[in-house]
Subunit: 388 residues, 2 copies
Amino acid sequence: MKPNFSLRLRVFNLNCWGIPYLSKRRGDRMKRLGDFLNMESFDLALLQEVWSEQDFQYLKQKLLPTYPSAHYFRSGIIGSGLCVFSKHPIQEFTQHVYTLNGYPYMIHHGDWFCGKAVGLLVLHLSGLVLNAYVTHLHAEYNRQKDIYLAHRVVQAWELAHFIHHTSKKADVVLLCGDLNLHPKDLGCRLLKEWTGLQDAYLETRDFKAVSGFCISCKTLKTTTGLDPHSGSPLSDHEALMATLCVRHSPPQHSPSSTHGTAENSPLVVVLREALTELDQAVAQAHWWATFAGYVIGLGLLLLAVLCTLAAGGGVTEVAILLWTPSVGLLLGAGAIYTFHMQEAKGLCKARAELQHVLGRAREAQDPGPESQPALILGHQEGSRAEDQ
Amino acid sequence: MKPNFSLRLRVFNLNCWGIPYLSKRRGDRMKRLGDFLNMESFDLALLQEVWSEQDFQYLKQKLLPTYPSAHYFRSGIIGSGLCVFSKHPIQEFTQHVYTLNGYPYMIHHGDWFCGKAVGLLVLHLSGLVLNAYVTHLHAEYNRQKDIYLAHRVVQAWELAHFIHHTSKKADVVLLCGDLNLHPKDLGCRLLKEWTGLQDAYLETRDFKAVSGFCISCKTLKTTTGLDPHSGSPLSDHEALMATLCVRHSPPQHSPSSTHGTAENSPLVVVLREALTELDQAVAQAHWWATFAGYVIGLGLLLLAVLCTLAAGGGVTEVAILLWTPSVGLLLGAGAIYTFHMQEAKGLCKARAELQHVLGRAREAQDPGPESQPALILGHQEGSRAEDQ
């Protein structure tokens, strides 16, 4: 590669608000999104909340001349909602589905039914390996009393872990998506400290090079409630558009203070904070499992009493009437017990991984993420409606 | 690293048959396994079917002086059953839980309740990066009429994909586990063709070097029904013990015919075969979902009739008696519908990945797995009892 090598990359990211039957004017917005993407001809368009595969197929057909490569990340019952359109051939793709993603009985929130995930696509651009990640983390419905905080922290940790393990040969790492995190939130700090990613929103100008490349963010725009051309909004979220410039740069050590091994280094601090959060969540999951266990016992007792009453011929009708709710109670409690035991296992898995990284950071044998590529983090902020 | 560099690695692998309450003489066998591992002092011991975390904790304590590093891979409701004990510090670990793993209503087989997975641990040995993988794929209960074939093929594909994406900076890749596959089975061929892994059982002597290292298998032993020392068996499966020697070797292109792009290259052939298998499985999953959909309709109709009868005061007792089975039918059919829709999504995901790899292989732009490290595949054969 020539020393004066330079690559311009135009990227688009949007949470599309594409819930069938529920999202207003979905068809019209998808059509206008397609027109807009065709007109702007980005290098890469990464979308979230494309819940209907028909919408993806519609966009794929519409965008084919401008974006010949496309992929829809399938997972869970409903799907991940993630898809990507690329002007350049996608060399490889893979995905990781998050272990924890809300509670099945919180039906009105519905996150559990989606297979929230992170998708990876590998592009080869002028001899440079670009790993682009797209993700959508669990929604934040109540910032003051966030019952999903631990799940989102575990998702952020798994996202960081996935990037860490799959980007070892990448020259540039780009993360886009709807993180449902503010820059100072635990999940965001964990992600940045462990991977070395930098936030395009906060540190826009020049990113430092660690792998022989440096990235600068030439332009960074968001929509402001309105479609840049027609005036009416493309989604209930804002789109993010960036022009990045990748240039050669002599390799150097990471300038971040992240990789110190002192007890008060940012990495150690954020790992300890995450561990405290997970300890509480594990205790709570066990509490719910124990509670459900008692309800199961109670349900079995009730069923035994009803059977005895019905057999004795005493109050047969009442006994038969109460049979269905008792069986329902038993099945419901069983499902809650199973779910929270599985939740506890998922939390313990993440806790063991965090403890291991913390242990190695303290041992000072591991100088942190080794020779990471130049990194950029583009995530979406400022949603107008409640984040999903 | 010196040109005459050489590393000896002693590895142990066993499916432990550690099902609480069901596996015979579990406590005694765990104790003897611990004694044996301590006495033999392998570099790495990889275990499957350690279903009880207490058993892992017991072994961890017992093996601490000889194997200071250990990890238990947690997943799903019951767990993955996978764990590992290492004489050398584990630098990093991560895991991937398979998307498909049997059917929840096949309770007597029980695979669905386990979070079958692949675990990765990264070791740094004398400046060499070793990625060791441990896994356990879905059991084969009936070889002639294997209803789990498509699930196992998808698992083998995800395993290959996970190795492909996480081993790009590894010098040596080692896969151990219980694959429930014969060497000529579709899953095994898919795994070998896509990753370039070689089978220690079939190609024991000298593995070719692709990344600057070559591995030879100095000794390869399995138990033969009996504990090598005490005489009574350690498990219902046989243990596999290998001594590997890693040496420097000039990098060369893979000698395998795998990476041709002709229509009859082994990779293209096995990808096409896997796609045919998945097409059938997708059709079957959709058939089951449609069938469950009809049952849901029938259940709803039955409930409506029962409600009308009960309200009319005609045959109230019969209507009330039939209420519970009708609700049960509806819930059961709903669960089966949801499960098979999710199964179809998982199968379609794998199919899209296979199609993409097939497309790229045909385009001849991708010269196959790029500069793969020297590889070895050590998987377990010859189980005496039915594989779980």
